[in-house]
């Protein structure tokens, strides 16, 4: 019976057979795709990456605008904001910002930046773009699921954006949506329809992340080209891979928590609610535990900050090595520290909860585990510094942003050691010290990683270069702006200045910080306006930028062996095989200061090391 089946069917079920290969065979023959197929419902990983990037840029503008609005309120609490009325409508009451809308602004700023920009916009863009290109694959394991991943994100974005405009306002319980505040519309108007839309949007977002994540992992494990062993992978791929693993394990837990919260809000269960009186009325809910929500939330929430920062770390490692013309220092230690950070990220979540009245013994266990994260982080910082040490530095814009990343990561990481101590955290919790810490170490750093990535891989995405001069301007404005915003914030935080307060003018203790707050607001708004230089540069360069060559940075990794703008299937001919690691820069005895991964040892006899001679 079996003999009747054609050969092709055999391949399909066989071990190691890949669908992208089949797809490609098909597409090579007739290359014409309709507009809809090519730009909208595309299954090509490069187009999906660009979709993620441009949606991410849109969200970053929205998130930045919201932060400028609440910085106005914080910097000039007495000023009249009547001039914002055409923009904010009824949220300006008699020249004052509505206090509950202030909380909604903060909530949406956090949600948008953490999830929509730095998760979807960062790892969605670069995992999609770089994984197949750098491992030598035609496309992702499942192009269709990859497309779904983007469109789930898109629908989720539309819902979240719509929630900004509804009558009761968007969600206002903080991006951490702690119940009971987030569960009871009587508590704050934003916990009505706004919170419902928030939860629906986030549920779709999680689906999008899981569809993307399983694809990234499968592709890295199964579709590497010949010779590309795990120990020859660029560090970017290791970082994207581990990011996807973190997402795979932690996003379902957030989904669980969100589902229980939906049941509490809309179906009358009491998972997180108990013994609550509102306006003298007792609610029927008994037996719930709001702390339980925090445990579930932070089991995602902590890995989430590494989901944000790991891709940036990977790209920075790659860009620093390329532009220092030196091998990355401690390649294996870099992989080891990524693994260490990923592992530890799952056992430190309760350091966000030191003030919930947890058992002090438990608190010290989490404190101990948290402080251990300093070890792999320090390994990474040491290796980055050792990589650029006495390198032949090329200050491209991407390089500047990478160095900026290392600087911000150190500056923000140091205060992490402070906050990781339970005794200190109890003092500093809910002050601006925490805000300053995480904006430096994860917010700004990840943004710097994102910009570095855009400037570095722009030529491969669009076939043109971004303007360097505008890039420098963008870098210096942002770099100085970020420090001017967040350094003073540490200081007001240590003085006890609380987070989430709409205005502090009622407290004598804090009114002395009025000038400093004004200063922070000016710096924040100037830095935000500086981003429009980037946005102009980005879109202008897509159409008008200087034309790029195949390998403008003289880099070693596989994506630079593709045509200037790689088509569907990435390589017009055979997929190149890989012979060496990606960091052979300035190898003694070599003809050039870089040797791409595709060059076999037999062609580089003058520079081969003794153990490489055997592989000639």
């Amino acid at each position: 019976m079996a003999a009747n089946f054609p050969m092709q069917e055999q391949v399909q079920g066989g071990i190691g057979a890949t669908e992208p290969g089949h797809d490609h065979a098909h597409h090579d023959e007739h290359h014409e795709q309709s507009f809809l197929q090519k730009y909208v419902f595309s299954t090509d990983h490069k187009m999906i990456a660009k979709q993620f990037l441009i949606t991410g840029i849109f969200w970053a503008i929205v998130g930045g605008t919201l932060s400028s609005l609440f910085r106005l309120q914080l910097g000039w609490p007495e000023a009249t904001l009547e001039w914002l009325k055409p923009f904010l409508g009824k949220w300006i009451e008699a020249g004052k910002l509505n206090p509950e809308f202030y909380l909604a602004l903060v909530t949406m700023h956090g949600t948008i930046m953490v999830f929509f920009v730095l998760t979807a916009g960062l790892s969605g863009t670069f995992s999609n773009f770089l994984i197949p290109l750098q491992i030598g694959a035609r496309d992702m394991a499942s192009g269709f699921m990859n497309m779904l991943s983007y469109w789930f994100f898109f629908v989720s974005s539309v819902i979240m954006f719509a929630s900004l405009f509804i009558e009761t306002g968007p969600a206002a319980a903080g991006w951490t949506i702690y119940p009971p505040l987030s569960a009871l519309p009587q508590a704050i108007p934003g916990s009505g329809a706004g919170q419902t839309l928030w939860l629906v949007s986030l549920a779709l977002f999680i689906v999008s992340q899981l569809l993307g994540g399983v694809n990234y992992i499968t592709t890295v494990i199964n579709l590497r080209t010949q010779g590309m062993s795990m120990s020859k992978l660029p560090l970017t791929i290791w970082a994207f891979f581990l990011t996807a693993v973190l997402g795979l394990l932690s996003f379902p837990v957030l989904f669980s928590a969100a589902l229980l919260l939906i049941f509490d809000r809309s179906f009358g269960t009491s998972f997180f609610l108990s013994d609550i009186y509102i306006a003298g009325q007792a609610l029927p809910n008994t037996g719930g535990s709001p702390i339980l929500f925090q445990h579930l939330f932070w089991f995602l929430g902590h890995p989430e900050v590494y989901i944000v920062i790991l891709p940036a770390m990977g790209m920075v490692s790659e860009i620093l090595a390329t532009n220092s013309r030196k091998p990355i220092f401690g390649y294996r230690a870099m992989i080891g520290s990524l693994l260490g950070i990923s592992l530890l990220s799952f056992v430190v979540w309760a350091h966000h909860m030191f003030v919930t009245g947890m058992n002090p013994f438990l608190g010290s266990v989490f404190m101990f585990l948290t402080l251990i994260i300093a070890v792999p982080s320090a390994v990474k910082v040491f290796n980055w510094l050792a990589t650029i040490w006495r390198g032949n530095l090329r200050f491209t814009t991407a390089m500047l942003f990478s160095i900026g990343f290392v600087s911000l990561f150190i500056a923000g990481g140091l205060t992490g050691i402070v906050l990781g101590n339970a005794a200190l955290d109890i003092q500093l919790h809910n002050t601006y010290f925490v805000v300053a810490h995480f904006h430096l170490v994860m917010g700004s750093s990840a943004f710097f990683g994102l910009w570095a990535g855009v400037y570095h891989w722009f030529p491969k995405m669009f076939g043109r270069m971004m303007d360097e001069k505008l890039g420098y301007l963008h870098f210096w404005l942002t770099f100085i702006g970020v420090y001017l915003v967040f350094l003073p914030m540490h200081y007001v935080g240590i003085a006890g200045f609380p987070r989430r307060y709409y205005a502090w003018t009622g407290f004598d203790t804090f009114s002395q910080f009025a000038d400093l707050n004004k200063f922070i607001s000016v710096a924040a708004i100037v830095a935000f306006l500086g981003q429009f230089i980037f946005i102009f540069n980005f879109f202008w360069s897509i159409w008008r930028g200087r034309r790029a060559t195949e390998n403008p940075w003289n880099s070693n990794t596989l994506e630079w062996t593709t045509p200037v703008v790689p088509g569907h299937g990435n390589w017009p001919g055979d997929i190149p095989a890989v012979h060496r690691w990606p960091y052979d820069y300035s190898k003694p005895g070599a003809e050039q200061d870089f040797i791409p991964q595709t060059v076999p040892f037999s062609q580089t006899q003058s520079s081969n090391l003794p153990y490489e001679k055997e592989m000639e």
Binding site: M1, A2, F5, Q8, E9, Q10, Q12, G13, I15, G16, A17, T18, E19, G21, H22, H24, A25, A141, S142, G213, V214, N215, I217, T218, T219, I221, N222, L223, R224, T225, Q226, S229, L248, L249, S250, F251, P252, V253, F255, S256, A257, L259, L260, F263, F267, G268, T269, S270, F271, P284, T286, G287, G288, S289, L292, H295, L296, F299, D574, I575
Partner: protein, 195 residues
């Protein structure tokens, strides 16, 4: 040419088809949902104010149904390897029937819980009851996805697309169905031990 490329120019990896690998990763994330719920259950239970009630005995019967369906889906897989398509269809349809019977059983048990005055929501509810509904409900939802997957493979078997040289889809549905069974066994034992 390119089909050969797929076979010959790849770095040897896990030896598992990418689609199957995707499925396994999705099973990991499904498991994480239940890991979250069961650990939340334990944490919440230890805080007191926890309604104790008897788990309906009927869960034993639905469990047996699901174990039987795991046996039939395995039978379908073995039959596909022997190219015995009649048995494949029979076994897959049987699996589908048993799965449906399991879901109906779970539904009836929800009714029984309500008769026992164990509610999902409302004034008389307690998280201990609500958790039971959530665990069975979310598992039931995933079982429905398994049923849909079974239907797809049944359709393929009628189009002669399931046989010893094309084991991918039936292998995947077998793996997924066993996973749903083992997941339920885990939940059942968990509920037995924590009641």
């Amino acid at each position: 040419m390119l089909a050969n490329e797929a076979l010959n120019t790849k770095e040897p990896a896990t030896g598992i088809h990418p689609t199957r690998f995707l499925l396994m990763l999705m099973m990991v994330s499904i498991f994480m949902i239940f890991a979250a719920y069961t650990s939340a259950y334990i944490v919440r239970r230890n805080e007191g104010n926890w309604l104790e009630f008897d788990l309906p005995a009927g869960f034993l019967y639905t469990t047996i149904l699901l174990v039987l369906s795991s046996a039939t889906v395995q039978w379908a897989w073995l039959a596909a390897r022997r190219n015995d398509l009649k048995q494949v269809r029979l076994a897959l349809v049987l699996t589908f029937g048993l799965g449906l019977a399991f879901l109906v059983g779970q539904w009836l048990l929800w009714g029984q819980l309500i008769d026992q005055r164990v509610f999902f929501a409302g004034t008389d509810s307690n998280p201990s009851g609500s958790f039971l509904y959530v665990l069975t409900g979310v598992h039931g939802f995933h079982l429905i996805t398994g049923l849909i997957f079974l239907l797809i493979v049944v359709r393929k078997s009628f189009k002669y697309q399931v046989h010893s040289r094309e084991m991918l889809s039936i292998g995947n549905v077998t793996i997924y169905w066993h996973f749903l069974g083992v997941l339920w066994l885990y939940l059942y034992l968990f509920l037995l031990l924590n009641h």
